[in-house]
Symmetry: C2
Subunit: 283 residues, 2 copies
């Protein structure tokens, strides 16, 4: 397993592959790798001859009162997941390498896509995401980059950033991986106490409740969102942050009757832990 911490070195590795006609795929992560990340690495493995996993807990995408400091970090465990999943290299830079002059230069995706949902709840979050992903694209020069559908809004923002800045990178979005009880895999699940963990499957169940209504013909965004909120409201352990239904292409909220592929997304607090999840309707 190749491990590089300097931009120059990882870029040289990527260019070496490119000069031999081999495609490079990047899987950007913040470490704390679980089966969801492993599935992204395997998806990258299918599409490219050389797979680089970046591990970097990006400070600019955390708000001041968020969990940057306590975000779980375990490089040796992450390395084992990378090996098992078929990665060729890990890019493991420190903050000074990625932000040599502090956070003064950023990539901004304007518009409703970054104002709604997590954009409204976490001001600056998607600026931090777009900035670090742009930097990683410049550092690694991948042909392909793989992101998870669990962070659906992030994937939409990154697709837009990639298109608008003209990065020659194909974006692959890989399906959500779930625990056996339906909970979407997330590094933040480790924050949950046993009692909180027991309540967590209700998030996916509430989305499934709306999906059932959709299957039966319900097309009202209001009714579909209300079904999720009502279902979540059934547990006193869960506090709903938002429920939103967006056009899956533009990531703009659907106002009228649902007539195109859409993403039904939810964010909810269980105790102090904020979890997100989503399902696709009409795909």
């Amino acid at each position: 397993m190749i491990i590089e911490s300097k931009i120059k070195e990882i870029r040289a590795r990527s260019r070496e592959q490119k000069s031999r006609g081999i495609k490079t795929a990047l899987v950007p992560t913040m470490g704390s790798l679980h089966e969801g990340h492993a599935s992204l690495i395997r998806a990258a493995r299918k599409s490219a001859g050389f797979v680089i996993v970046s591990i970097f807990v990006n400070p600019t995408q955390f708000g001041q009162d968020e969990d940057f400091e306590r975000y779980p970090r375990d490089f040796e465990r992450d390395k084992a997941v990378c090996l098992d999943s078929g990665a060729d290299a890990i890019f493991f830079p420190d903050v000074a390498e990625m932000y040599p002059d502090g956070p003064s230069v950023s990539i901004e995706v304007a518009g409703r896509m970054t104002e709604i949902m997590c954009g409204g709840r976490r001001p600056g979050h998607f600026r931090g995401v777009a900035t670090i992903v742009g930097k990683l694209f410049i550092a690694v020069e991948p042909d392909i980059a793989v992101f998870g559908q669990k962070d659906a809004q992030q994937a939409a923002v990154i697709k837009k950033m990639t298109k608008c800045l003209g990065f020659p990178v194909e974006i692959i979005v890989s399906p959500i991986v779930r625990e056996s009880d339906g909970l979407a895999m997330s590094s933040r699940n480790s924050y949950l106490s046993p009692a909180e963990r027991a309540s967590a499957p209700l998030i996916k169940q509430s989305l499934d409740r709306a999906a059932e209504l959709f299957e039966k013909g319900e097309r009202s965004p209001q009714h579909l969102k209300q079904a999720v909120a009502n279902s979540l409201g059934g547990s006193p352990a869960i506090r709903t942050d938002y429920v939103e239904l967006v056009d899956n292409a533009s990531f703009e909220p659907v106002d009228g009757p649902l007539d195109r592929p859409a993403c039904l997304a939810v964010a909810a607090y269980i105790g102090k832990t904020r979890l997100i999840d989503n399902i696709l309707l009409g795909e």
Copy 2:
């Protein structure tokens, strides 16, 4: 002369050179090429085996009441200057090619560097500059990019953007080229009436006046700037927009006695035409 209007095509040209071990230099311009641009192309020629001149009047760096519409455009003349100066290729995209989804994604350089001088007078200007230069770097993938010292603040912003985002591009800043009477060459000089043109050399003369004082030992930023303002005030045809003295490395205003290399910069209106100029002190 190779002429490309599509990002894919110019990138393929650049990569073809790279695969043969030849360095590529980019000279970003808005066209209306004059002897100043020719000197940038010649500087690029000295440093690289393949020289690409981009010609693109970038809408996002113009304010609403500025001269985007009437900015001079003459592709055939520009092509002749490129040929004469030794360029190998011209990248001549349209607005839809560079902004496929409008101006919604931008690169922002925060801090005093973009707030003072032209940053304060032209809100959003440097966001537009940083964005288009970043897009051109992504499109052309140059090893070297050449900018003019005439736009000293722009050069500082681009250096910072390049360093912070980690573009593998060496930035060369090439000296100001002047008319025989000292006026810095600029595409906007063509806006001047004969009477206005006759007043224009006072801009450089006012900077020279301060340089004389500096040579004689004057180190007070206030006195040096006042000398420029007083000199410019001698002509009723000229309205000073700003006079600033900045650290030539950080591009932050010098407050105390001048003890390091600095850039003395001025912007002034002659009629409706806004011109900028600068000199280096203590280099």
